[in-house]
Amino acid sequence: MSRRGRLALFGVAAAGLGVVLVHGLVGLPAFGDFHGRYGLLLAHVAVPERKATDIVNSITYDYRGVDTMGEEFILFASAIGLVIVLRRMRGEHRDERADERADEDRPGRRHDDLPDDRHAQTSVALRVFGLALVGPVLVLGVYFASQGQLTPGGGFQGGVILAAALVLVYLAGRYHAMARLRPVPVVELAEGLGAAGYAAIGVGGLISGSSFLLNFVPQGAMSNLPSGGTIALLSAVVGLEVAGAFTLVFAEFMDQRLLTGGRR
């Protein structure tokens, strides 16, 4: 198609889009005008009923807890799937490299030399800054995962922040330290326990004689750390699951990078 033809086609399409867009925007309700029935109801009922001061988390972990369980299992399944794909590729690469290494002109070179190549590349400022941030970031992650029922935050955000602490260790050039910090079986166990814990708390509602994921734990006093019943527990197990899943994914990607690369 010629340039003129493409421009003409674009002009027609853009004019059509413009008409539809203006038509749609004119019919929108006014800014801040909300008529959702459930939203208005929950805004009045949620805090006195659940004793959790963060309504958003009482919705995610209680009123629509089954949806959150679905989301958690999506993350669980995608992390496991990625690990399966990457591990097989890594095994293949490792075999190739073992063959290459046998007839390489540097016989003294060991597996462990590869991360040290990277270590030399990171700057001192990055290393110091990264290591100094690891502790605060870990505390922040635990804080978010444990305060979901009180303040904005919750298990998902806390879990990703915990995994980010590991990335900081990696950025600081401590591949060996990172390899020790994320013993893969423990991380896998944490991920599995987090996912299973969510389902187990849900079954707890059935055992207590009512429905799945019912808030069966005593709600406690408002704005205390143990408040909101299962909301705090579910937030904690989601934190465990998300931290495990992201750590696993980051670690597998980094192993890929180090085992297949690091050489020119």
Binding site: P152, Q157, V249, Q256, T260, G261
Partner: protein, 86 residues
């Protein structure tokens, strides 16, 4: 809508355009991280702090780290086999 919210919307529009205009994948990953931060500010000024926190952890930690690691991997493959370059 107040001035803060309007300027946050404009910043997000500019940031999104910047992500699209940026052609180098490495820079694009960093610009996408900054765009995630702008989105988080937008959610915050529209009084959704929970969503803002989720956006911060995903937009500035999760997605850029994935992109950078994937780019590092692609970069090495390209070094190994120059014929797939471009």
């Amino acid at each position: 809508m107040n001035v803060l919210q309007a300027s946050a919307l404009i910043l997000v529009a500019l940031g999104g355009t910047a992500v699209v205009v940026c052609r180098d994948p490495l820079r694009q990953a960093i610009v996408a991280g900054v765009f995630g931060l702008l989105l988080a500010i937008l959610f915050f000024v529209f009084q959704a702090p929970d969503v803002a926190l989720s956006e911060i952890v995903i937009g500035t930690v999760g997605v850029p780290v994935m992109f950078l690691l994937a780019l590092a991997k692609l970069h090495e493959q390209r070094d190994d086999t120059p014929e797939i370059d471009q």
